[in-house]
Amino acid sequence: MAVTTGLVQRLTWVSSVLCAWIGPTLTSAELLLIVFESSDTDTELGFKRNAAKLLARAALTGYPVTVVHGDQSALIDSVSIGGFNISPVGYAVHDDLYSVTGAGIPADAKVVFDSPTVTVTVTPDLVRPHWVLLETLPASVPIGRNRVRLEGTGLVSDWVPVEVSATPPVPVRVLYSGEPKDRPYNVVLLASPAILTEAGTIVADPVFTNRAAYRNVVAFILRNVLTLTEDLLRQNDWDREMRFVSVFDDTAAAIDANALVQEDPLSTYMQPRRDLLNSFLAPYGETADIVFAIHGSTTHNYAWSWYTTDDAARPGTAYTYDGTARTHGHFPSIPGSVAVALDVDGVTPLHEFGHAGSDYNNGRVIDLYVDGVDGFFNVNKKARALSTDPVPANFANYNGTNYLSDQNRDSLGYPPTWTSYHPALIDTAHPNLMDNYWLAAGGNPQVCRLDRLTYAWYSDRLRAKLRR
């Protein structure tokens, strides 16, 4: 068998033969054929038509093809399209999010758009080894046919043809499609169409008036959860298996069913309305594990999270905590959810994920910057009977391993009357991510990490969901 690869330079339909000239230029192209025989069955004719269509698509879009044919024959046995070493994701639209996937992408990668008139190089707002994200596709990239590639230390990727448009951004943008399997772990970032106010009225969410700020927050959240010192989600490149989707549908009506956040009447917190999330996302074809509901309120701009409710009727991975049998559920019945405002900062998204990704019934990860515990099963916090009681040496036994307590309570100088305590830190030089991270040394909360027990518990929980 012989293989010919190149651009489809010309296609000619003559009588019952399709002639395809394939190669780097028309003069150096190889002439290959698809012959529609009168003796062909309908099935054979159908797939010859498919091969012809594929050649036509390739010719019209500038995609190279790979054609297999006999060593001494011009008759085409198969046609392939694609096969680049990077993959632009979705439509390329000015002033919209845009991502490109690949493998081994270096931290200094740039996205290069090339057209007959200009070359535009853009620095991504998020770089992971398997994808890069542009918060916005700049208008300096010409409308129409471009080609795009990634460049960085040790990487010069293939050029991939893309059509750039200035049409309105798409409502649903898959940023990274996740492991190619049924139900990859799905993180959805969405603009809440409406807000349920303290007064009980539904008002349009101002986030729709500030698309640029929304995009900025999307990129901020993703950098927060995927690139800070705490590597919970990106350890072993786990995020390579996760799906990330943005939903900004400004055609969604400001009605109760679309009011995905609500003002807390007693504070400036904005809470996600978790019971609405599954039904809101269903028409878009998305089933989420975690939802970041981004809103534009300036009066209720404190972030709030609700834990995931795992689906107890579906499979799970068993574990023990202090001798009690529990389960890391593989699927959620209600996704974990976070409400964040457009002015979100610090390590708030990662901290809030710490809550949202845990489970109502089989392990909550709670705040450490307040005293006391509720009556639920909390993974990362316990309380002594009296504040004068010593902090126990061992915090908990998780799956047969003893985890120590933090005797210094993050060294944050909490009142001596507090009874709560938590597991020993991974990094004793900085407060726990679930504590008051604003008090991190040097004022840099981005270095804060979880404690050892919570990290182990959460890693197992995420692994169970990723491998479902």
């Binding site: 159908g46 198969s78 392939s80 399209i81 993959s87 994701v89 943008r173 190619p180 878009y284 074809g285």
Partner: protein
Amino acid sequence: MAETAGLVQRLTVIPGASLACAWIGPTPTNTELLFVQRDNTDPAGQGAFKNSMVDVLMTAVASRREVVAIHGANDAKITSLRIDPA
């Protein structure tokens, strides 16, 4: 049934086998190989339906749009295809 969502990273049409192979996944190196195959015994309507799925796969390659391929839990044969709103 299982659903595999992703970009069509590569598509091969093999007329002699009435077969279209689609590599679907988030990156070129992380894909699932699925296929559409027409059988000689397929009624005309079924054949046309399968051809139209191949058509969509072709369009998805160049448009960089995600597809959702539905197939058996332990079977790579695509039985339905979906394109969700974008």
